[in-house]
């Protein structure tokens, strides 16, 4: 826990705690994934399902996860399968933990790759490797070549040509940094990063925002590509492509908006459940989770939403943004082809570019370090493995997965497919299971009793109703509408599985990893039963 001077709270410690709490929630989802999705789904209209998902799903389910985690932790379990089994003592309960294992582990496989892009871009700024006054097309070409977007295996081929400037090299560096910190148990240093890197990232983002808002019309030959039209593309509720109501009728937008809320708040990952299990009985979880969510939303909407899409409109034009609907450059990739244009137009752009991407790398690092803890907890608790053995096993699994993502790079198919099926759909399903478990099995009264213990704010009672009825119905309706669209009306994701063998291979890979974790959970359940029987015998003998 944080070493705080008890009984002697200064402004410094308070601000430090606020920065640590809000900073821990900031990651790639805020500055890269959110703008990519907002651009894909017509900005203004996207904000309706986005904010509804925040209020009716994200925030309530964050409370659900913190409460269930601490509840399970006080009963001796830290892994989510164990915690689900404590709350719902039944045969199927721990197997829902398969989702809480594959979600963080498989998101890690591509998240660490995007983290590597941030580090690579920061390095390029540090050593001044960008061409002077490069065009937006040049930045786009660089990104495509860097990630190997033009052909499968291109990223590895690039590494064979020039290892030090390849994405594979930076991925290896990120992997080594991540696993060294996790293996040696040095993750405590993350708190220090959050306290210092967070305000620095905020200042950088504010400087970039200021520059974007004052871009005007950089190319007089293209008067339409100005910042006001860019803001309009991001925030206008209706577009020439679709009216406000037509946009809202797209169930995939509702699903992805909810998925984005879960992704950026780390809800539905199984991470919060595991970390909350280590808390003390009377620690606050209500105000902590609300403050983290508020910091996250500010960075995402007020900074991420105001920077990337308007800048992409100004430098890359409307046709480029519109093409994201059919042929995404990757929801994560938009920032990498857009932001270098902004830094190119800034005074001290090289320094700001370096700081922005480096601090984003640190923010991503803080997130990726926590992603493996749920699986580590299961391997330790269920199989009795030591931490280092658990980390080594996960290192092998995630290295295989990350290599898969890097190799199948044409159109970033593997990354995009995993991001949809795991980073959106599986998150969604896990969140649905958890909210039902809390509302209907643990019971909202008991759950709120856990949430309220030690709470520094009072959660409005209306949220009992929201968690029990509104959130499950909301999740069910959006999922049903998405299934209808995919199976009958206008299949897009399923169509991809039929037409792209790599997309199908990704789903098969997800199933294989899922089966692996199901077997681990089965073994863990057997071990828990044996331990419980031994404990019972000891009690009877005593």
């Amino acid at each position: 826990m944080v070493d705080k001077p008890s009984g002697r709270e200064t402004w410094g410690t308070r601000i430090g705690v606020i920065l640590a709490v809000t900073g821990s929630a900031v990651g790639l989802g805020n500055f890269l994934r959110f703008p990519g999705l907002a651009a894909k789904y017509d900005g203004g209209a996207f904000m309706v399902p986005y904010f509804l998902a925040f209020l009716l799903l994200g925030l309530p389910i964050a409370w659900v996860e913190w409460s269930m985690g601490r509840y399970g932790g006080s009963r001796g379990f830290n892994s989510s399968p164990g915690i689900y089994r404590v709350i719902w003592p039944s045969k199927p309960a721990p197997y829902f933990g398969v989702l809480s294992m594959i979600v963080p582990v498989m998101i890690y496989m591509y998240y660490v790759y995007v983290e590597a892009w941030c580090l690579a871009y920061a390095t390029r700024y540090l050593f001044g490797l960008w061409e002077n006054n490069a065009t937006s097309e040049a930045y786009e070409r660089f990104f495509s070549a860097f990630v190997g977007k033009n052909a499968h295996g291109a990223a590895f081929a690039q590494a064979a040509e020039n290892l030090l400037t390849s994405s594979v090299f930076f991925l290896v560096v990120c992997f080594v940094v991540n696993f060294t910190l996790i293996y040696r148990g040095l993750t405590r240093g993350i708190e220090w990063f959050c306290k210092w890197a967070m305000p620095a990232l905020l200042i950088c983002a504010l400087l970039v925002l200021l520059r974007v808002l004052t871009l005007g019309t950089p190319d007089p030959a293209k008067p339409d590509q100005n910042v006001l039209n860019g803001l309009g593309y991001m925030w206008n509720p209706s577009t020439e492509h679709a009216s406000f109501w037509q946009s809202l009728a797209n169930p995939e937008m509702w699903l992805e908006a909810a998925g984005q809320i879960f992704f950026s708040l780390s809800v539905g990952f199984g991470i919060i459940v595991t970390y909350a299990s280590y808390l003390r009985k009377n620690d606050d979880i209500a105000l902590s989770s609300v403050t983290a969510a508020a910091g996250n939303e500010f960075c995402e909407v007020a900074l991420g939403g105001m920077i990337t899409v308007p800048a992409a409109y100004v430098f890359l034009g409307k046709p480029f943004l519109q093409s994201l609907r059919d042929n995404p450059v990757s929801t994560f990739g938009l920032g990498f082809v857009t932001l270098p244009n902004v830094f190119n137009q800034m005074i001290f752009g090289q320094i700001v570019g370096f700081l922005f991407f480096f601090l984003l790398f640190l923010a991503a690092l803080t997130s990726s370090l926590s992603m493996l803890q749920p699986a580590i907890a299961l391997l330790e608790e269920g199989l009795g493995l030591a931490r280092k053995a658990s980390v080594a096993l996960l290192g092998f699994i995630t290295a295989v997965g990350a290599s898969f993502v890097v190799y199948f790079s044409e159109g970033l198919t593997a990354l995009e497919t995993l991001d949809f099926w795991v980073g959106t759909l599986a998150l969604y399903l896990l969140a649905a299971f958890e909210v039902v478990l809390f509302g209907w099995v643990l019971g909202v009264e008991r759950g709120f009793e856990e949430l309220s213990r030690g709470a520094e704010i009072t959660i409005p009672k209306i949220f009992k109703f929201v968690i029990k009825y509104i959130s499950p119905v909301y999740l069910l309706l959006v999922f049903a509408a998405w299934c209808y669209k995919e199976f009958y009306a206008n299949p897009t994701q399923l169509q991809m599985l039929r037409t792209k063998p790599v997309a199908l291979a990704c789903v098969v890979f997800i199933v294989i990893v899922g089966v692996f974790f199901a077997l681990l959970i089965a073994q863990s359940v057997r071990r828990w039963r044996k331990l419980e029987e031994q404990q019972l015998k000891r009690l009877q003998a005593g």
């Binding site: 900073g23 148990g185 039209n229 803001l231 206008n236 509720p237 803080t366 931490r387």
Partner: protein, 51 residues
């Protein structure tokens, strides 16, 4: 940028800014809040201590 766009932008950006401001106020104004507030970053896992 249409009037609707301005409204959506002001409500979205203003809303999240006010929300963050309220949270900061609650943390600063509540005595003892600092003692009990936690994030994933400051939670230590016991297996790390055992190493």
């Amino acid at each position: 940028m249409t009037l609707g766009g301005w409204i959506v932008m002001c409500l979205s950006v203003g809303g999240v800014t006010l929300f963050l401001g309220w949270c900061i106020y609650r943390v600063v104004a509540t005595p003892g809040a600092v003692e009990h507030l936690h994030s994933q970053a400051d939670i230590e896992t016991p297996d790390v201590e055992e190493q």
